[in-house]
């Protein structure tokens, strides 16, 4: 009998303790933040302004009788200031009836001004916070970061959902880099590369992806536009980038549009293009990039045979792509001196003894010979044969 009693006692204790819901909090007992924006405060150098976007569950379509009428009211936007990001979050908590929950935060918008000053101290807080997911997207906003949260996109009820879809769709199509917070962390701690983040501009009703904000350390040093970003995507991530639209030479207003479908990139670190630079460095980087794709638009009839046309177009696109990539290299090396191509990583991996140990990559990247050689393969001409 005593044995059974003892067993029951243990069982009861276990049931009481093993429920695993010590810090249970229902969904409606939390204030979920969908997006955080960080700005500077005018005139106060030492303060950050944090703006958060909180969805109001009851006003989102389908949840109650009202339906999806007023999408402008589906979210609440609040701004607070603080000396650090955590301080601002604490100040925000003082104004909220429920506990702040950052586990669903998907977008971290940082204004360009803050980014140019350096975002190390912002990122430190997010590194330590277990609620923050590494798959969240940090985004640099041209102008005020809070404006990104205030847009009224009309295509989605919650502004941030619109933004998230924009990035997610873009990264699926290969036109926008899927640059997450985790990637940023890795790139800043790795000594052989520099980080970059997506760069957007927001207006009243919409948001536009502008390209890539280039960092050196934790400081933003500049931005590259969408066309150069696509070159970067092709060379760095083997993603296809956007359509290539080139004016047709010898015509008044004719354009040809090439849509890449498959990208193959190979990096050669030993090639000796430009013998002078090779002798100086002993190493050089050549990207061999093969683009396969279709011609999707030709606005002027060139009156030539398809075979000849394809040959001519391939040469034209190759020239354009190489010009684009060399512009990208000039910007990264001469203007920003920031290796977001991950060239250093490849060099460290493959030429550790003969190159990496003897050079300071952060200084050396500026003058390292880099070049891209494109191979264009036109597969189809769309539905038309001409």
């Amino acid at each position: 009998m005593a044995k059974n009693l003892f067993r029951i006692a243990i069982l009861v204790t276990c049931f009481a303790l093993l429920t695993g819901c010590w810090d249970r909090r229902e969904l409606e007992e939390r204030t979920s933040v969908l997006a955080v924006a960080i700005d500077v405060v005018e005139g106060r150098e030492d303060l950050y302004k944090m703006t958060v976007q909180i969805p109001i569950a009851i006003k989102i379509a389908g949840s109650s009788g009202q339906g999806g009428g007023g999408n402008s009211n589906a979210v609440k936007i609040m701004s607070v200031t603080g000396r650090t990001v955590t301080d601002a979050a604490n100040n925000l908590q003082l104004r909220l009836n429920q506990k702040l929950f950052l586990g669903h935060t998907r977008v971290l918008a940082i204004s360009e001004e803050v980014a140019r000053r350096g975002i190390q101290d912002i990122m430190d807080g997010y590194r330590r916070e277990p609620q923050i997911r590494r798959l969240m997207w940090p985004i640099i906003v041209k102008g005020e970061a809070a404006s990104l949260l205030k847009i009224k996109p009309q295509l989605a009820q919650i502004p941030v959902v619109f933004l998230m879809d924009l990035i997610e769709n873009g990264s699926k199509m290969g036109t926008i880099p899927d640059q997450t917070l985790g990637d940023y962390f890795v790139q800043t701690s790795n000594k052989s590369m520099e980080p970059f983040l997506n760069y957007v501009q927001a207006s009243q009703t919409e948001v536009r992806w502008e390209g890539i904000a280039v960092f050196r350390g934790h400081k933003m040093v500049g931005a590259i536009n969408d066309i150069q970003s696509w070159s970067l995507l092709q060379l760095r991530n083997k993603q296809r980038g956007g359509d290539v639209i080139i004016p047709l030479p010898g015509t008044k207003n004719g354009y040809v549009t090439f849509r890449p479908h498959f990208v193959k990139t190979r990096l050669d670190l030993k090639g000796q293009h430009g013998l002078a630079s090779y002798e100086q460095h002993g190493h050089s980087a050549t990207y061999y990039c093969e683009l396969q794709g279709d011609i999707v638009e030709v606005t002027e009839n060139l009156k030539m045979k398809p075979e000849e046309f394809i040959k001519k177009m391939q040469a034209l696109i190759k020239k354009e792509m190489e010009a684009r990539s060399s512009k990208l290299f000039t910007q990264l090396q001469k203007d920003y001196s920031s290796d977001i191509l991950r060239l250093g990583l490849a060099l460290r991996g493959h030429h550790y003894r003969d190159y990496w140990k003897k050079h300071d990559w952060r200084k050396d990247f500026k003058n390292f010979p880099v070049k891209a050689v494109y191979t264009i393969k036109i597969r189809r001409l769309g539905m038309e044969m001409q």
């Binding site: 243990i10 276990c14 093993l18 010590w22 798959l135 790795n190 990583l345 460290r348 003894r353």
Partner: protein, 386 residues
């Protein structure tokens, strides 16, 4: 020696049960930090550490298995006095073997405390933020107490049952995370010095500790000559898992970032997205399964400790039940002894050193004594007698 249950000799552990006993004891909290500890000395080549470190583990487990083979049906506690003393002077054998037996028992005891503390630390810092550490530790202890209420064949069955539950999630995480791997992170293959290789190997030692429970459990093997094989299989599986986890961690994060995260494997889970977005946040599910992995480590070690005490005092199952409940009380305070996370990691590193000395030293010493006394070859005649 064990008169109380001597009539009922339990020889029920199959080869598979022994294997799962070893593997599930090895795989525990060590996996959560392994990518960081191994890469701290070996940089990119961290994955080599478990591969090289395993050599002495094989040697050690082979010695333990052959000791057990030499005295079939007897645990370490039982055959120690036989090795140290002759039939005429059993008292001398008991006294001479006491330091080694006590060292072994104490090590089991302390590693139970440290493992449960590290587990509690992980849960508290990453998932259940508001739950007191004490509750998690006590819950784990209660589970282990449940196991200690039973005879030894239950231990084998529990381990056999939980084994796939531990193995497959870890394998799944490692393989799924390879989709965001950057292979240049693992290159150059080797650049650290030979000294660093040794130190890196040593860092992986603590994650291998735990197979010394077989000093007790090998006694219950179904066949006498399956022991070394079971040890070999069990440790090979663990080695495979460890190498894969370190490789995945290094490939995804790079060794610099690994140095900055406290639970690299957990971060690996956080960045892993299963295609199709079925499971977007894996870490809660992973930690839920992880309870099983830690339970087998804590409970097996504690069971070995309690069983050892029971045999040392030559008592029955009732004594085991009482002593296991009592011994949890000081254990709880030992588990809470380290003040902070830095302390814990330092102590767990010391424990690795102790385990190295103990696991390699004690069986070797025992064999030396056996040879010196000319008992090394006596297995055959003993077998017929025992």
């Amino acid at each position: 020696m064990s008169q109380q249950d001597g009539s009922r000799q339990i020889n029920t552990f199959s080869l598979w049960q022994q294997t799962s006993l070893i593997t599930s004891t090895l795989i525990g909290v060590g996996v959560l930090t392994l990518p960081r500890t191994t890469t701290s000395r070996l940089y990119e080549a961290g994955w080599m550490a478990p591969l090289i470190g395993v050599v002495w583990v094989f040697f050690s487990v082979w010695m333990i298995a052959s000791l057990s083979k030499r005295f079939p049906g007897k645990t370490f506690i039982e055959y120690s006095p036989i090795i140290w003393g002759s039939k005429k002077r059993p008292q001398q054998g008991r006294w001479l073997s006491l330091p080694w037996v006590l060292a072994f028992l104490l090590f089991m005891y302390f590693s139970t405390a440290i493992v449960s503390r590290i587990f509690g630390e992980v849960v508290v810092t990453s998932v259940l933020l508001d739950t007191p550490l004490e509750v998690i530790i006590i819950t784990m202890f209660l589970l282990a107490q449940m196991l200690c209420m039973h005879e030894v064949e239950v231990v084998a069955r529990i381990n056999e049952l939980l084994f796939p539950l531990i193995l497959f999630p870890v394998l799944f995480i490692a393989l799924a995370s390879f989709q965001n791997a950057e292979w240049n992170n693992v290159l150059p293959l080797y650049r650290a010095s030979g000294k660093a290789l040794f130190e890196g190997m040593y860092e992986s030692v603590y994650s291998y500790a735990g197979y010394e429970i077989m000093l007790i459990f090998f006694a219950f093997a179904h066949e006498n000559n399956s022991k070394a094989r079971a040890g070999f299989y069990g440790i090979t599986i663990a080695m495979f898992v460890y190498t894969l986890i370190v490789l995945a961690g290094t490939a995804v994060f790079g060794y610099e970032e690994l140095q900055r995260v406290s639970w690299p494997t957990l971060e690996l889970v956080k960045t892993t997205k299963v295609p199709g977005l079925i499971l977007e946040r894996l870490e809660s599910a992973f930690l839920a399964v992880w309870v099983a992995a830690v339970f087998t480590t804590v409970a097996n070690a504690y069971y070995a400790f309690v069983y050892g005490i029971r045999q040392l005092f030559n008592k029955g199952i009732l004594f085991q039940r009482i002593i296991s409940a009592l011994m949890f009380i000081p254990l709880f305070f030992i588990a809470l002894w380290p003040q902070n996370i830095v302390d814990i990691f330092r102590i767990s590193s010391y424990m690795g050193m102790v385990s190295l000395a103990l696991n390699l030293g004690v069986p070797m010493l025992y064999w030396l004594v056996l040879w010196a006394r000319g008992m090394g070859q006596g297995a055959k005649e003993r077998k017929s007698g025992g």
